[in-house]
Amino acid sequence: MLVVEALKKRFGGFRALDGVSFHLSPGEVLGLVGPNGSGKTTCINVISGLYPPDGGRVIYQGRSIGGTPAHRVARQGINRTFQSPKPFLSLTVRENVEIAATYGNPGDPPDLDDLLESLDLLRHAERPAAELNSAQQKTLDLARALATSPRLLLVDELAAGLNPSELARMADRLRALASRGMALLVVEHLMGFIDRVTDRVVVLAAGKEFFEGTLADATRDPEVIRVFLGGGNHG
């Protein structure tokens, strides 16, 4: 469904992505992990159309979409959440999802009441998004993304700032989405959450992927340990 090939993105002289490759199938949850600055969010930003790539390809359902503007990418069935929540603050919760359902969903949008109810946002539907707390705003980002009925969902640190019971519920929600055939790319620092949600992980460091497999294998890989914890082996 999604194939990322040797993706490159530079900011001035800094190579945020230096040839990242991975693939993702429908119904699969892929974790993207790595230290701060390893290019996880940049990767999501390039796939979702926020930045054009400087090299390599993003192939979605057989077509190259690298450099397609974000609003077109959204209509093609790729959507995302943001690391720090970005709702439309002065608009109501309902209006936030209504916009996405209207403009970002070329097919039949889901019933918005059901969608908000499933994310515990229905009782806040008529409140401005500015009045929600930050966990609720993140959930609203997710609701807005789901209103476009994406086939590929990019989740950027959704778990940060959630309490343990919220974390468990969010993990169940993401697994439920995958079980309905949605592909998910999950960027996250909380390894418990990654362990619970993902089928497979790709480990990034300095804009390159250097491990791919299950999280359990990753934690036993000496290279991964060296990148995350540092180590004596300065080679």
Binding site: P69, A70, H71, R75, F82, E95, T102, Y103, G104, N105
Partner: protein
């Protein structure tokens, strides 16, 4: 769902009713009040404040050079009458075209934001003024010496055409406040990155709002040229027109229908009441008012109610 829909219909009816009330008041006042020029200027500022509301209230761009479109409209009208020998209605079309062309030329300014956009738009308006008022172009624009369009002078017709333009502008604001497109524009204002993720074409939305607001100011400028019929570049490109429109809109509350109307009625009323007779007190009061607004009510009078979750029409 049903209650949501009927509430929506109620909101549209309230907005449309208030817009109609403004038009009826401005239409009937002319028959009972003799100072037509004052009423005409009220209509111009109501139109300009709402035109500014379209671009600032809905997309967040604050064009301090908004008067550039007004001047382009005034001179579009004047040039069409002087050189093409057109009647007032086709000349109004030329006023609109002139302002929209200027709007298209200035589309790249939308890449800027905040104060940079405000300053750049002001510089653009000044540049257009310098071209029009250039003595070397006296054969075309009459340069700084001004134009006289006595051949089309028609105070009654121009008053009611201007009323029609105001009505269309109010209708546009009612539409934006109650339509999905207006909601999309507000989404762009709140967060362009999120708006794009929600499938909204940010560039298209901004450009449409920008050109609509240029068109409104151009038509207001054309009305001014027609109704006044003798004017100078200094009066068509007077920066205080921009500032008035900005202050009136901010005072009442942006992205509302009634906010700019209240701003014009109160502040332009105040200006005409004391500004003409004792200008020194007027400037004192105006300055103090602007400072108090920015300190305590940056979102205008409407925010007194919206902060309490009461919808302002």
């Amino acid at each position: 769902m049903r209650s949501t829909r009927s509430r929506h219909a109620g909101r549209i009816a309230l907005d449309a009713g208030l817009a109609a009330l403004v038009i009826i008041v401005m239409g009937t006042l002319r028959t009972v009040y003799s100072n037509e020029l004052l009423l005409f200027n009220f209509m111009l500022f109501l139109t300009l404040a709402q035109g500014l509301n379209v671009i600032y209230g809905f997309t967040g761009y604050l064009p301090f050079g908004y008067v550039g479109f007004y001047g382009a409209g005034a001179y579009g009208f004047a040039l069409a009458v002087m050189h093409l020998g057109l009647g007032p209605i086709p000349a109004m079309v030329c006023a609109a075209i002139g302002a929209v062309i200027l709007g298209v030329i200035l589309i790249p300014l939308l890449r800027l934001s905040g104060a940079y956009f405000a300053i750049a738009s002001m510089a653009a308006a000044q540049a257009v003024y310098e071209i029009i008022a250039n003595p070397a172009l006296q054969d075309v624009t009459k340069g700084p010496y001004g134009v006289s369009l006595s051949q089309v002078f028609a105070p009654t017709a121009s008053y009611y055409i201007t009323l029609g333009i105001l009505a269309a502008t109010l209708a546009l604001v009612v539409y934006l406040r109650n339509s999905r497109f207006g909601l999309a524009l507000q989404a762009i204002r709140e967060d362009p990155v999120s708006a794009a993720s929600a499938g909204v074409s940010v560039v298209r939305g901004r450009v449409l709002a920008w050109l609509a607001s240029a068109l409104i100011a151009g038509l207001a400028g054309g009305s001014f040229a027609w109704h006044i019929s003798v004017f100078y570049p200094d009066s068509a490109f007077d920066l205080s027109i921009s500032i008035f429109a900005v202050v009136f809109t901010l005072f009442g509350g942006t992205a509302t229908l009634i906010g700019p109307v209240i701003g014009v009625a109160f502040l332009y009323g105040l200006y005409n009441w004391i500004g003409i007779t004792v200008p020194q007190y007027f400037q004192l009061i105006y300055g103090a008012l602007i400072m108090l607004l920015i300190l305590f009510l940056p979102n205008g009078l409407a925010s007194l109610l919206t902060n309490r979750r009461i919808r302002v029409p």
